[in-house]
């Protein structure tokens, strides 16, 4: 203790050098951001390349390249790459990023690093409403259009978030909030199971697969829809990074800096619901990504500045989900794992680590 104080005293005594050392620090920080971003982009491309090359069918690099640039437009390799692998990779990338950013927004909102769309039961809420809409629309018109599923997922996310908000108004305890989220999740899960039990047989196969979470089976139409939705939501999120930064100091400080708290909170929840709703609509509920990725990214960057963290989190989520999807596909091929099984294996230990760090006060 005495040593520390002495050190502090020395630092403070040399005020001028410390000041300039701060600007040195700022330079170091910017370099660190740059390194992290380059690493993330590299990881993204590495994952994309590995992903597109691996699978049951061996396709050579030049063949893939020709398909990508549009030279080859038919044949079985074309179908595998263009209709199966590519949409799946893109879906994993887009939705992985969306899920991570949605987690970051919820963590900011609830001022709780363990908040996320899966843990708070928001994914399950979205899934429940999607299941209802799916069953109803299939029995009525024979199919379920993707826009209807997206709207359903968005509504479900908002419903679950609204419920969590009601609880968080009454109790300000983080642990209780999480337990409430788990309970909301269980209720929605039970309701979903109930709906599935009474759904027609051929619907169920489709639904069951989806309710477990997977990036597979998406058409290009879906990929475009997801890209547009996530793209727009991300744009707004980045534009919102200034008030998010203010909000990190708490509601009262944010307001004193000129943030209109009421509308800010509404926008934050809408954005996070669009992002997590899109994910649930196209890939089902996916666990832990929303917590683990923002945490790891913030550690890597050494800051929580939203303007840097939001894009990095998106990139990180992209690479992380592509990696998890790859493992889900290949680990026990030809049997495929649920994506959540893989994300949980990587994500849950991170969450446990976070909680341990909180306990010891280092966090």
């Amino acid at each position: 203790m005495a040593k520390r104080e002495q050190q502090l005293a020395e630092e403070e005594a040399s005020g001028e050098t410390a000041l300039s050392s701060y600007h040195h620090e700022a330079f170091k920080r910017r370099t660190r951001y740059l390194v992290v971003f380059i690493g993330l982009i590299a990881a993204f491309f590495a994952m994309a390349v590995i992903n597109i090359r691996s699978g049951d069918m061996n396709v050579s690099g030049s063949e893939i390249w020709n398909i990508l640039i549009g030279k080859v437009t038919s044949g079985s390799t074309y179908d595998v790459i263009h209709k199966i692998r590519l949409p799946r990779i893109l879906m994993a990338a887009i939705l992985g990023g969306a899920l991570s950013v949605s987690g970051f927004l919820l963590q900011t909102f609830f001022d709780n690093p363990i908040a996320g769309p899966f843990v708070l039961g928001i994914s399950d809420g979205a899934r429940m409403v999607v299941a209802i809409v799916m069953v109803l629309s299939i029995s009525a018109v024979g199919f379920a259009p993707s826009w209807a599923l997206v709207i359903a997922a968005f509504a479900g996310s908002l419903l679950a978030t609204g419920f969590i908000l009601l609880i968080s108004r009454r109790v300000h305890n983080m642990a209780i909030l999480l337990v409430a989220g788990l309970m909301v999740g269980y209720i929605c899960k039970a309701a979903t199971d109930f709906i599935l039990t009474f759904a027609a047989d051929n619907d169920i196969v489709n639904l069951r697969n989806w309710t477990l979470g997977s990036f597979s089976g998406n058409s290009w139409e879906n990929v475009v829809a997801a890209a547009v939705l996530v793209g727009v939501a991300m744009l707004f999120t980045i534009l919102l990074s200034k008030p998010i930064g203010a909000y990190q100091l708490g509601e009262s400080y944010a307001q004193s800096m000129g943030v209109n708290i009421k509308s800010f909170r509404v926008i934050l929840i809408l954005l996070s619901s669009i992002l997590s709703g899109t994910v649930t609509a196209f890939a089902g509920p996916i666990s832990f990504v929303g917590i683990a990725v923002p945490f790891l990214i913030k550690r890597a960057l050494g800051t929580s500045k939203p303007l840097v963290v939001i894009p990095a989190t998106f990139l990180g989520g992209t690479a992380f989900c592509m990696m998890c999807d790859l493992i889900a596909r290949l680990a026990f091929a030809p049997t495929e794992l649920n994506i959540s099984t893989v994300t949980a294996v990587f994500g849950a230990p991170v969450v446990i680590f976070m909680m341990l760090m909180r306990r010891t006060g280092r966090y």
């Binding site: 005594a13 690093p113 534009l239 930064g245 203010a246 800096m257």
Partner: protein, 387 residues
């Protein structure tokens, strides 16, 4: 520690601000009622505050100091009446407008994640930065300036969570300064600070107000500090403002006693210090002292619960002030007068009732020579104890 070294003050902070405009009342609370959920907790608040004035809100716990502050900062909806900023109604201002005029230092304990002190202070530039909140060179300079003004320049690169409470409070004050406000509102800024940091903080506030014309409104627990730092004291008690005015007018012993409902002790309005009550019972001990020598002895006896008589002290002696609070009986003489027969007899009589006479240190000169006689008499009676 080195950071207690005298800060380079007065500093010129944000000299681009126009300080020449003297507005007699800058901030006006007019028939203000404040409370929660539309229910007034305190009503009829009428206070005029000038630019560069330090206003301290004092009052017992739970009296509503924070409620008033939160209403001024718009965290709480005003129940009735008005808050006027330079004649402009607070509720008609946008949060954005308000943010360039008013900054806050709140009681909320911050636990920001991975933020350096520089980051925290930089959030004060919020009203001035662009859409994405990127700091310009000019903003960076303002941040450095604000940190230097609170002696926190060296803390820039440190994680906010790793610094002490005193340093945190100074960093938050720098954050507020950086916002270039006309008014800074502080809610219990001294709560977690030890005495040294309290003094640091208050002297920074003082120089902010005087050198930069920033109006400071703060709630304070420590009435003694309020009295020393504030230009205006607002006493909040019950459902209204108990008293409001310059510290000299507020600090009468009775007033503080009534306001805080002190039954167990006393308050010295001259020095702003509090004392525990005098020991009860028939005194069998006498203390002879001059020139403040008795103070330590009085306190010792008070702690042991021994009632005592304070011996011949002059009314302009520091011993006399404390003796009035702690001694059962005080035998006193008018300043600069030789000890009169009456007082001498009174002292002898008192000595007769006592078993012990303590000599706590007496400076004896021509006019109080009879103190020496008293000491000799105590010696003769075998009651004298020297300390």
């Amino acid at each position: 520690m080195a950071d207690s070294a005298a800060p380079a003050r007065p500093r010129k902070l944000f000299s681009d601000k126009d300080k020449s405009v003297v507005n007699p009342t800058y901030l006006q609370l007019k028939n203000l009622s404040v409370g929660y959920g539309g229910h007034a907790v305190i009503h009829d608040i009428n206070i005029d505050i000038a630019k560069g004035e330090i206003v301290a809100l004092i009052g017992p716990n739970g009296a509503g100091k924070s409620t008033i502050l939160k209403s001024i900062t718009r965290q709480l909806k005003i129940v009735g009446g008005q808050v006027l900023f330079d004649g402009q109604d607070l509720t008609k201002m946008s949060f954005r407008d308000l943010s360039s005029r008013m900054a806050v230092v709140l009681t909320d304990r911050l636990h920001p994640e991975l933020m350096t002190c520089h980051d925290i202070v930089a959030t004060g530039r919020y009203p001035y930065t662009g859409r994405l909140g990127v700091l310009t060179r000019d903003d960076e300079d303002k941040v450095d300036e604000a940190m230097a003004a609170v002696d926190a320049a060296s803390l820039g690169a440190r994680d906010f969570n790793s610094i002490s409470d005193g340093q945190k409070q100074r960093v938050l004050l720098a954050r507020a300064l950086c916002q270039e406000p006309d008014v800074i509102i502080l809610d219990e800024p001294t709560s977690f600070l030890d005495i040294r940091y309290k003094l640091d903080l208050l002297s920074i506030l003082r120089s902010m107000a005087k050198d930069n014309g920033i109006t400071v409104i703060t709630s304070l627990h420590e009435i003694d500090l309020a009295m020393k730092v504030a230009d205006k004291i607002v006493c909040v008690e019950g459902d209204t403002i108990y008293r409001c005015g310059a510290p000299e007018a507020i600090f009468e012993e009775g007033l503080i006693r009534d306001m805080y409902d002190i039954r167990n002790g006393s308050f010295d309005s001259l020095f702003g210090s509090i004392e525990l009550p005098a020991p009860a019972g028939e005194p069998r001990t006498m203390v002879l002292s001059t020139s403040g020598n008795g103070i330590r002895e009085y306190r010792r006896l008070q702690k042991l619960g021994i009632p005592f008589i304070a011996g011949v002290v002059y009314k302009n002696d520091t011993d006399y002030r404390l003796a009035q609070a702690l001694a059962t009986e005080v035998i006193a003489e008018e300043p600069f007068q030789p000890i009169s027969n009456g007082v001498y007899q009174q002292a002898l009589e008192a000595m007769g009732r006592c078993d012990t006479v303590i000599d706590a240190g007496c400076d004896i000169g021509p006019i109080n020579a009879r103190v020496a006689d008293l000491l000799a008499e105590a010696e003769r009676q075998g009651k004298l104890e020297r300390r």
